[in-house]
Symmetry: C2
Subunit: 221 residues, 2 copies
């Protein structure tokens, strides 16, 4: 007699809600990226500059995750993009339930793209799916070129990697070829953009990729 | 009738082992600091420079915590200080049990000071006591002056704060007075050392403080 083995994956509460978020975003035809990095890699500056640049092309909404304070949400508000602040009150990552709640408060019908700025942490957020279309890792050159080797998970799981603060390259010991090679080895599909959100260098390539990603999701539907 | 309320704190497994570590280090008359920061703040460079400078004055051993790789331990080995590498294999912080095991492998009887370099993460490691004498926070100026406000726990719990990479101050937007004021507000006892582990600026004050801390523990016994 042939035995049939039935494998049933037990979903965690977070996974269940992340799937609900993903289905919801899919019915709304809205792209959603979850940006993950160490504290201080420049996520909020990248966001404000990207939103200002793409204002007339795609409508972007933001979910800001922070342990405390609304410093980052205030900075996003200056761009006039809709933004919801989540304070995790100590927790080191956003949860799908928090994002679900924030999605109800955002004008999703009017948005092409929602960017979730996760809590500054290169480790924990990569283990918690939020229902996003994809993850974007950010690495500042001031952090060192050994980070893809030392913190591989987020680089392996991301759709794109922004290597930020390249304006500091001449002042720090950062071998950009090593960082790109290490990150590329663990993720062959990874799109890598060396940028400076401060000077604007490299931002066009990243912005064009974002527009292309939005167009792809719209044409799929 | 007067009622007496008995409060019993249930210790977690990690807390129990951290107390054992603390007692062990105390019987050995050995100081132990747990260094916590974001990835890439410069912890390992601070350590190698500190060990080389203090080689003839105090004997330092190191416990290196990393998710993967022994890149940092290899750098410490070049100083000839005894070093034990712990790979957490995905976990975002060191545990007291891991430190307990490493302490058995270090020549503790010959050491004045053990420095634990925790996993690069500004959030999670601050919630797990390892049995250390105190915590040292490191913040790189490339990370931004808003970090004490946004990630208050580690600044509130530390004995000292090293503001590293001050050689980059002229190239980044970092208001050092704001960072010092914010960190000082949440921790009146915090010793703050602006340093550059790269150029050596400010390192003498930090090194002298370390020597003083070692002397204090020796005179107590």
């Amino acid at each position: 007699m042939k035995k049939i083995k039935i494998e049933k994956k037990i979903l965690s509460e977070n996974e269940k809600i992340s799937i609900e978020n993903s289905l919801y975003l899919s019915t709304k035809n809205t792209l959603c990226f979850n940006i993950i990095s160490s504290p201080g890699s420049g996520k909020t500056t990248i966001l404000t500059r990207t939103i200002n640049k793409l204002k007339d092309k795609i409508k972007i909404g933001v979910i800001e995750g922070d342990i405390q304070t609304d410093i980052d949400a205030q900075r996003i508000k200056e761009t006039e993009a809709p933004v919801i602040q989540i304070n995790t009150e100590g927790s080191c990552h956003l949860s799908a339930a928090q994002v679900s709640k924030a999605l109800k408060e955002l004008p999703v019908d009017n948005l092409d793209l929602i960017i979730i700025e996760n809590v500054g942490n290169l480790v924990c957020p990569s283990a918690f799916e939020l229902g996003e279309t994809g993850k974007i890792a950010v690495l500042s050159v001031a952090e060192g070129d050994d980070k893809p080797a030392k913190y591989p998970t987020i680089f392996a799981k991301s759709k794109a990697l922004l290597i930020n603060k390249i304006d500091l390259l001449e002042h720090v010991d950062f071998d950009i070829d090593r960082a790109i090679a290490d990150a590329g080895r663990m993720n062959k599909e990874l799109k890598i953009f060396p940028i400076s959100a401060k000077t604007g260098e490299g931002m066009d390539a990243w912005n064009n990729w974002l527009i292309e990603e939005v167009r792809n999701i719209h044409s799929v539907k």
